[in-house]
Symmetry: C3
Subunit: 218 residues, 3 copies
């Protein structure tokens, strides 16, 4: 069974857009640190496709990030683009946060669905969805020697993706049990992505944070 | 053939205890750096199960750390626990060092044995045992952007696990050659763990260090 | 079909020399940071064989770096050697840069060829060749908590290996299509390595740098 959101041209287009946005976000981090063009390309490629590579290594299937021509081309083009238009992208702060949230949602849903349709358990699929969504940014931050954003960011970033992965597991189970048809699955998947984007943006806009350890005095 | 120390309820219990302790140690590092609850959970989970994931990726089998329900639950519970009881755990310095050493020993022995029974050579099994024992702490320190403890710690940490892995290879070979029965294998495995814990604790208590490069003047 | 440069004793010797040199370079970084002997061994081993491990994990074949006895022995001997002769090696700056460039070239060509003969597409083989050439240094720098050299080094380092990998893909395709015989393949492979070494050295000697992002004012 195919991943629902890769079943038609529109959703494939959205996926390439997500790869492109992730590449821009990653490449911009390299531009800011004044690395050379090759480093910008490597960081853009790994931010965009590193999550999928991580998922595919854990799933023991050939990694999309080094085998799918158009994904690779999209990621590299995003690296070249950001090397040229970085001042403009820098100003688009909110657009970038929104597009990054969109990519987070899309990667979470598609990563989870891909694992489910390869026959993993729901729990494993949830982990793999999160690996897909968060792995790219993780790789970028490790290469740039920063504490990864999923650890450091006080706003909701990993949490919405986790919630989205869990929801996707139930949608896939419903589809595999015949309770949902293809269109309903797509509808629910889109709803989950909207939910993830909404939670991420609400957290940044209203400065909503996830609690830390229980504060207690020694 | 099954891994000897996973053959009965008592040793399975010890293994979950080791996972739990590793999770506490990892989560505590995240609590100290004041990250949020989600980061604490991620770090606890990866410290506890990241070594096994590394081993399983190198062995090309489905990673326990994302497929075994009870291991995952144990790791996540340890993350929640440390978020609440961190002041108490902080005070238990020696208990924690001992439990961490116990986990080091158990993961080294079980990781090596798992690889041996999957048919790898002794050398490969030794490397995989060390990956199991050291991989969790490695992942934690990379995520927290510290130099990994296996590189940084001047006291014996990796060395006892390496010695333990080599011993385990010989015990497994003896068992596979029919020279040892199941009980003798368990007995020797327990002895190896005691040896690893003993070396680690002796090194910390008596401040025994491993030499560095030969000191010479240019 | 075998990897051309592993087809006779001379080239196998060159490969072990490359492993040994990488181990020296890696171990030296650990010696400079005053880590203990075990850390020096781990870093030497991972610098020498980490690239191949990365390639083999992505290819889903048993990693050479934990299964091939002589590669492992060579890497560990290089770690022990550097712990003793580090003051001498420290003075051999140009020899080391040359030997490191030789290893870069050899790993790029052999990594790409290994992937091609396992049946990957040219693009995937190119990525895997670069993973082989660059993965070892990457692992070393992540463990030592530095920004990886492939990101940080302003001189040509990753770029010559990328060009070499692309050339190797075409040579392998020529060989597989029957346009080249074994000797011609070896000749061209050697030529590619000379090209990579030449580009790397020229870049360091004449201070040739790769451009960064387009400089523009906001």
């Amino acid at each position: 069974m195919k991943v629902a959101l890769e079943s038609n041209a529109f959703f494939m287009g959205v996926e390439y857009l997500a790869v492109f946005c992730c590449g821009l976000v990653g490449g911009l981090a390299a531009v800011r640190k004044q690395y050379d063009l090759f480093a910008i390309l490597v960081i853009a490629w790994l931010t965009a496709l590193g999550g999928g590579i991580l998922r595919d290594v854990l799933l023991e299937v050939p990694p999309v990030g080094i085998t799918d021509r158009w994904s690779v081309v999209t990621a590299l083009v995003s690296g070249i683009a950001i090397a040229i238009v970085h001042p403009e992208i820098n100003k688009l702060k909110w657009s970038m946060i929104t597009l990054d949230a969109l990519a987070l949602g899309l990667f979470a849903v598609n990563g989870t669905a891909k694992a489910m349709y390869l026959g993993t358990s729901g729990m494993t699929a949830g982990f793999l969805g999160m690996a897909t969504a968060l792995g790219g940014g993780l790789t970028r931050d490790i290469l740039l020697n920063d504490v990864p954003m999923i650890i450091r960011d006080k706003h909701w970033y990993a949490v919405p993706s986790a919630i989205g992965c869990v929801c996707t597991v139930f949608v896939c189970k419903g589809r595999m049990a015949g309770l949902l048809d293809a269109e309903q699955e797509i509808g629910l998947d889109v709803l989950i992505i909207v939910l993830i984007v909404g939670m991420r943006l609400a957290s940044v806009i209203y400065n909503i944070k996830f609690p830390g350890a229980v504060e207690r005095h020694n």
